[in-house]
């Protein structure tokens, strides 16, 4: 993105806000990049010859006579095998001390896959975490966020999931990541010996917020290169999408756009969908799976960001601290994987969906028993057994610390059924009871 010779230099800004500048210029194309006083900016509006630029690094200290040059092109990323194992900033420049990437330059935020050319996702992604594999099985080509309060260990769970998943590339897009979390990811990837299949695009809290807007497109452009050109299975991790949406609202606010619900721009749904819908199972083996994080404010999923996300993604994984077991668990009621039925009982054992439903139903009965207890009513024998079961179920299966195979998860569930319940109480189909019952 070097400045070419004979480029016209403008030196008179007409307006400056915290995120944008405006000036009179001609021959400017929509979405193209510019440099304002050495900082990268992008054209977001033209009105006659008045051009509005969004300055990624913020406008602090930019004077009205700042030098502005236009680069004639939207943001790009150089793609190639050399991306593997590298760490970049929001502009695609290395931050790991290594050399710049040589490769084909591609515009980021490119076109969508023709929906007719997609295939139905059908490959299981095992994670070892029973709250995911047993109750909310993931499938390649899926897009799913963790919904978590800021105090939940979502980045740790995400790193675990990434390192255990059987994929060719893991691409991390970090937005507003704390420096500690960035170093945590870096350290986890290094110590797992997985660096050769990892690519990171990082914007930390130390970087300007508007820069974050580039991160998902950078990560997904790299993902499309490996999935489409190289037929690889790519897993993209995006954390934290709430901070991404906040950056969107900053820009739209500075452009005097009328906000809709929760001060978010009216286009929030389309903006998020453009990112999440990059998840795809291609007709070849290639696929892009997106696991994201959307932090919540005190578990509120009706806020515009989680709400719009929920309508776009194929389910959500809800993290919650469980007081009975003292563990962080994947909440079986509020979590959902919309694609799970594409692999359950097909790529996993025949009893999977029945065991899942029975174990969640019994856990729900335990919650009712708990409510009864809290309201001072007497507990029946069944209620008491449910409560004991719930504690075991949370500790041995729902907890995020679990790391076992799906067959082991199913066996564990049968063991708990046999320990606490009669066959009829589980409500499982007779044929499966005959085959797997583990108890009296």
């Amino acid at each position: 993105m070097a400045i070419k010779a004979y480029q016209r230099i403008y030196t008179q800004l007409e307006a400056i806000t915290k995120a944008t500048v405006a000036l009179r210029a001609t021959g400017v194309s929509n979405d193209e990049l510019a440099v304002v006083a050495g900082r990268l900016a992008q054209v977001v509006r033209t009105k006659g010859d008045l051009v509005t630029l969004q300055v990624f690094a913020g406008t602090e200290g930019i004077p009205t006579n700042a030098e502005v040059t236009f680069l004639g092109e939207p943001p790009t990323l150089k793609v190639g095998e050399a991306l593997s194992g590298r760490f970049f900033d929001a502009y695609g420049h290395p931050i790991d001390g290594g050399p710049e990437i040589e490769g084909e330059e591609r515009q980021i935020g490119g076109p969508s896959v023709n929906p007719y050319k997609r295939r139905q996702p059908s490959q299981l992604i095992p994670t070892g975490i029973a709250g995911i594999d047993l109750n909310n099985t993931l499938v390649s080509g899926q897009k799913i966020p963790f919904f978590a309060d800021p105090d939940q260990p979502y980045n740790r769970v995400m790193a675990d999931v990434a390192l255990r998943a059987d994929v060719d590339k893991i691409i991390l897009g970090g937005m507003g990541l704390s420096n500690d979390d960035y170093l945590f990811f870096r350290h986890s990837f290094e110590s797992a010996g997985a660096l050769d299949k990892i690519i990171c695009f990082i914007n930390t809290t130390e970087n300007p917020p508007v820069e974050r807007l580039l991160i998902p497109d950078m990560a997904l452009t790299a993902a499309e290169y490996f999935a489409v050109d190289k037929n690889e299975k790519v897993l993209v991790l995006l954390t934290d999408m709430t901070l991404y949406a906040d950056a969107l609202s900053i820009v739209s606010n500075r452009m005097d756009q009328i906000p809709s619900k929760d001060s978010m721009p009216g286009s929030l749904y389309s903006d998020l969908a453009k990112i999440y819908e990059k998840a795809v199972q291609l007709p070849t083996e290639g696929s892009i799976t997106i696991i994201a994080v959307t932090t919540l404010n005190d578990g509120d999923i009706t806020h515009a960001i989680p709400d719009n996300t929920g309508y776009i993604t194929e389910g959500q994984l809800f993290l919650r601290a469980d007081s009975d077991s003292g563990k962080v668990i994947i909440d079986p009621f509020r979590s959902l994987s919309r694609l799970k039925q594409l692999v359950q009982n097909k790529k996993t054992r025949e009893d999977h969906s029945q065991v899942m439903n029975a174990s969640v139903r019994l856990y729900a009965d335990a919650q009712n028993a708990k409510t009864k207890l809290e309201n001072g009513f007497d507990l029946s024998d069944y209620d008491k057994r449910c409560l004991q079961y719930a504690k075991d179920y949370a500790t041995r299966l729902l907890s995020i610390d679990v790391n076992i195979t799906i067959t082991e998860m199913l066996d564990t569930a049968w063991e708990l059924f046999g320990k606490y319940f009669s066959k009829a109480e589980t409500g499982i189909k007779q044929a499966l009871i005959d085959k797997y019952w583990n108890g009296n």
Binding site: T26, G27, S29, N30, D31, E32, V44, R45, T46, K47, G48, D49, P74, Q107, G110, P111, S112, V113, N114, P115, Y116, K117, R118, R119, Q120, P121, G141, V228, Q257, I258, P259, S260, K261, P265, G266, S267, Y269, S270, A273, E277, K278, V280, L282, P283, I301, T302, A304, D307, G310, Y311, I312, E314, G315, L339, Q341, N357, R361, A364, N375, S380
Partner: protein, 583 residues
């Protein structure tokens, strides 16, 4: 001469164009972007400037780029070959596009121009005809597809000549019509029609006369939708909107189904491509895909085309309705369409209405719903467009502009409840908040009296009442505790659970339970109401609970068994025995 223009301003997909001649509201234009022609539609004119919404990405567009106006509105191409197609919102055929990615400015023909169709004439030389009259017929799959006098023809025409029965492609002139002035007009098998204008060409639009069966009990029994009626399904995410809509698409008693995936997930459309070609239409025994057209403008496709997609879908339905067919239009979700309107209104810096939606949202929605309906054609035959839209209310809160505006326009309301979904009581349609205005129509009541049984609507009201009383009883039990209420409260509560589990809940993934024909729905409702009207007394609430739990289990087994088969009958006699013993 065509009007031309020059780009003067760009904000995302809203472009301001300085024009040199007349332009019309909703006129289509093409913007020349470095050699690629991209389509746009005029949405506002002020002085010399037209504001146009671009149906593609505007990346790289410059001030000074040239624009050509077409002198027409956005049009759908109509003709044989629309069924089993997969289109985007602008009716481009997605199956014939090359490459994995959608390319800007790539527009494909909606119908195959080479396919030969077996044509049989209906009209004869000398016949007097007007717009929408049938000239001939071809077989499209198993459907008789009528070739009509183009809807745009005004006045009376005389058939001058018509081709003999034989095989022709859509561009063949199949008839020559002479107008009142003696001028001849050629008619082929295809015509174009502006999507935002309703296709009239019928004699009258009476009130709906009958119901459209969906095989879903909570709709057909409790809140039936009329053939030619309108309904909508609002619900938070994860409540089963898509599953319910797919069930209606698979089972709805219609000749033609048009599904508009408007701003929703691409993988849901993939599910339709993958499954529908395998599935059989329960009414005709043919493959479902043969009667289905998919309009697919997923959430990541250009926003302006999202708005166009629902209009394109409606126009295709109206076209088939003019052939005397029953059409069902499903749009998922109309909220995304409303959001597309909001995005544009916002970019035009219009004063916003509630939640930043445009102030005329309500009018736009009711105009669209008004295009559905049953019609009597010029030849006395009837056709219908039934429309069911889904709404995705922000935060699951039904007090938001799209839900409220739709509630005024649609006659059936199927509210999906988070609470029911959490309890896995699917379909999660709320039995008390939902309604069908058609149950109040004398025509529909008379139809139900005649086809199901006299007094059916009263029975339905009775079932709803049992649920209402059960809910009240359950609230009392929760406050006062199981032992704190008289036994009758428990019985009332469990009777409502009986209706809930056996009538309201239905397993969309079970081969038998998924589709419940009206006769079977009547049988089950009679059985359940019969039980509910008996008096029971139990020594304690646990006996009461166990009795009803067993009863529910047996009744559900009936739902899973073939109607009036051996198992079904056995369960039924077991149930009757259980009930008599307990009295």
């Amino acid at each position: 001469m065509k009007t031309t223009g020059i780009v003067k301003g760009i904000v995302s997909n809203l472009v301001t164009v300085r024009v040199d001649g007349p332009v019309a509201e909703n006129e289509i234009c093409y913007i020349n972007l470095a050699g690629t022609r991209i389509m746009a539609e005029v949405i506002k004119v002020g002085g010399q400037d037209a504001q146009v919404q671009v149906f593609e990405s505007t990346r790289g567009l410059k001030n000074g780029d040239t624009v050509e106006f077409e002198g027409r509105m956005l049009e759908a191409t109509l003709g044989p070959g629309l069924l089993s197609s997969v289109y985007d919102g602008l009716q481009n055929d997605l199956t014939t596009m090359e490459g994995v990615f959608l390319r800007r400015g790539e527009y494909t023909d909606p119908i195959n121009r080479e396919t030969l169709w077996d044509f049989t004439p209906i009209a004869a030389p000398g016949d007097k005809v007007i717009a929408a009259d049938w000239l001939g017929e071809v077989r499209e799959g198993w459907l008789p597809h009528k070739i009509m006098v183009p809807f745009a023809f005004k006045g009376e025409f005389t058939v001058k000549s018509i081709v003999a029965a034989g095989q022709y492609n859509v561009d063949t002139v199949i008839a020559v019509l002479t107008d009142g002035e003696g001028v001849d007009h050629n008619v082929t098998m295809t015509q174009k029609w502006p999507v935002k204008v309703a296709i009239k060409g019928y004699r009258e639009k009476p009130r709906p006369q009958r119901i459209m069966e969906t095989g879903v009990r909570v709709i057909d029994t409790l809140n039936p939708i009329a053939e030619g009626g309108t309904g909508f399904i609002p619900g938070p995410f994860g409540c089963g909107k898509t599953v319910l809509q797919h069930a209606i698409a698979k089972q709805g008693d219609a000749d033609v189904i048009v599904m508009a995936a408007c701003g929703e997930r691409a993988n849901e459309v993939v599910e339709i491509f993958t499954e529908f070609p395998e599935l059989i239409d329960p009414h005709t025994g043919r493959h479902l895909m043969e009667r289905t057209t998919i309009i697919c403008n997923t959430s990541n496709m250009p926003v302006a085309a999202r708005e166009a997609s629902v209009y394109t879908a409606m126009t295709i339905c109206e076209y088939y309705r003019a052939m005397g067919l029953k059409c069902l239009l499903l749009a998922d979700s109309t909220s995304r369409w409303a959001q597309a309107l909001r995005e544009m209104s916002n970019r035009m810096e219009e004063l916003p209405g509630a939640d930043a939606f445009p102030v005329d949202l309500s009018a736009i929605i009711s105009n669209f719903y008004a295009r559905a309906g049953m019609v009597v054609l010029n030849n006395g035959k009837t056709g219908a467009v039934t429309f069911i839209g889904t709404v995705s209310p922000a935060g699951g809160n039904l007090k938001e502009p799209v839900t409220e505006s739709t509630k005024k326009a649609a006659r059936c309301f199927y509210a999906l409840e988070q609470n029911r979904a959490d309890q896995k009581r699917y379909p999660a349609v709320s039995p008390l908040d939902s309604y069908s205005k058609y149950l109040e129509y004398p025509e529909i009541r008379e139809y139900l009296d005649r086809t199901i049984e006299k007094g059916w609507v009263d029975k339905v009201a009775d079932a709803k009442n049992i649920i209402r009383r059960g809910k009240e009883a359950s609230e009392q039990i929760n406050i006062l505790g199981d032992d704190g209420v008289p036994m009758s409260y428990h019985v009332t509560f469990w009777k409502s659970e009986l209706v809930d589990f056996v009538i309201l809940q239905q397993d969309a993934f079970d081969a038998i339970d998924a589709l419940c024909p009206l006769e079977r729905q009547k049988h089950m409702l009679d059985l359940v109401l019969g039980i509910c009207h008996r008096d029971f007394d139990f020594p304690d609430y646990e006996v009461c609970r166990d009795f009803f739990k067993n009863l529910i289990n047996e009744l559900r087994q009936m739902n899973y068994s073939a109607f009036k088969g051996e198992d079904f009958n056995r369960y039924e006699s077991d149930i009757r025995r259980m009930v008599e013993k307990s009295e």
